[in-house]
Subunit: 234 residues, 2 copies
DNA sequence: GTCTATAAGTGGATAGAC
DNA sequence: GTCTATCCACTTATAGAC
């Protein structure tokens, strides 16, 4: 944000800190990453973080804002292009899904400029315990989420909105694991022969669309009251 | 609350600590949860954790082991029952998926004995940065994962194993978000009208099976280079 | 803008009384 | 097994020199 001409002498310190923080947050999480780790990784002085960002929390926020603004702008632009091309007609669900998740996967495929690192971080942060981070993320996402859900409601008029909502949520979970799984997860470690990022998009898209267009669930036979305790053996 | 006023003997100190830790880990994460928070929530002395478990890391491990052993035993028992019922014939994919994810959702529906709390924690922990936690989880899951993947390979002989592997991974992501989403996520906050846990199983199952049985992705037009590990699927 | 030094506080872990 | 009192490594954040 600081664009004063006198600050020209150290133009990199800010972004060096952001890059270092991004990488360390992915590797260790927010709490386990100390200011000392960040500044030493970035090759800057310990006090620089507080000078440039004010606090650790503000730094975390800026790590997300810097990339998320761009990602969500891309998403909205893509959706608007689809809508103007369709000229009032309902969009194909596959195009909507691709506009939302394809942009994310494109960013995740960029290993050179930190996009991959960031998307791993983002995927995990949806379920982040830190309340302030979740709150901030929800605000950053509010508009784009509203727009894409609205587009899906229009594209799938026969599917109850509640189901679309849940399925969109499931899709976000699948995507997070898709990105995390290529290198972060130990669970499937050594099992994947083919983790080519270029194949991830068609791979994930098939799965997502299959799930989105699946037959609606059958709720008949469910007790009205929620059952609890899975212990029972019929 | 206080059961005995005379003797401060608390034979259940261990489990009180485990319960408190489980809840606080979900709410704040491992790093942000201090021993002092845990012991004060459990109503026991600070030193009790180190006496009973040895260290904070060992406590974390025990929080998982206590429930995961049971969950995975249920899963394997369910799978074995399916296999013995089928008598050598290949299983239906839907039954396999239900055996794995249905047991997890049943545990997540149990809000009274902490199952719900634990499943939220578990879902997040697959992508946990803490290496020691991930490693431990991978070991706990090794057998059950091997067995269920094998069953799916047999049930879907025409689908390349690599695709099944990825899709299973996607399914786990969807399930994690399904469980987390009912109360942890802020992103969709206020949007869900119907978060009835009893409806979650059919809801999620439709999505998962739709994704698992989706048409295979079309890789034509993608560059074949940049593959690692070298094994080519025929 | 960058640095050193330090303040003010929290973390996990333990020794030793009971 | 449970408790108190404590150790000290390590945290974020800041004051003030350059």
């Amino acid at each position: 944000m600081d664009t004063s001409s006198s600050a020209r002498h150290t133009p990199e310190t800010r972004s060096r800190i952001l890059d270092a923080a991004e990488g360390l947050f992915v590797e260790h999480g927010f709490e386990a990453t100390s200011m000392r780790m960040i500044t030493s990784q970035a090759g800057v002085n310990l006090a620089a973080v507080n000078y440039h960002f004010g606090s650790k929390d503000a730094l975390i926020q800026e790590v997300f804002r810097r990339r998320l603004t761009d990602l969500n702008r891309q998403r909205l632009a893509m959706l608007e292009r689809l809508e103007s091309e369709a000229g009032g007609a309902p969009l194909k669900p596959s195009r909507i899904v691709e506009a939302f998740f394809g942009t994310a996967l494109a960013m995740a495929a960029d290993t050179e400029h930190g996009g991959h690192t960031f998307m791993r971080l983002l995927g995990r942060t949806y379920t982040e315990p830190n309340a302030f981070v979740r709150q901030f993320l929800a605000e950053e996402y509010a508009e784009v989420l509203e727009r894409f859900l609205g587009a899906l409601y229009g594209a799938l008029p026969d599917v109850p909105r509640e189901e679309i909502l849940w399925r969109f949520h499931f899709m976000m979970g699948a995507m997070s694991y898709a990105i995390a799984g290529t290198d972060a997860l130990q669970l499937f470690a050594g099992k994947f022969d083919d983790a080519d990022p270029a194949r991830m998009l068609p791979r994930l898209m098939s799965f997502l669309l299959g799930g989105l267009r699946a037959p609606l669930p059958d709720y008949t036979g469910l007790a009205v009251k929620a059952r609890r305790g899975g212990r029972e053996a019929a």
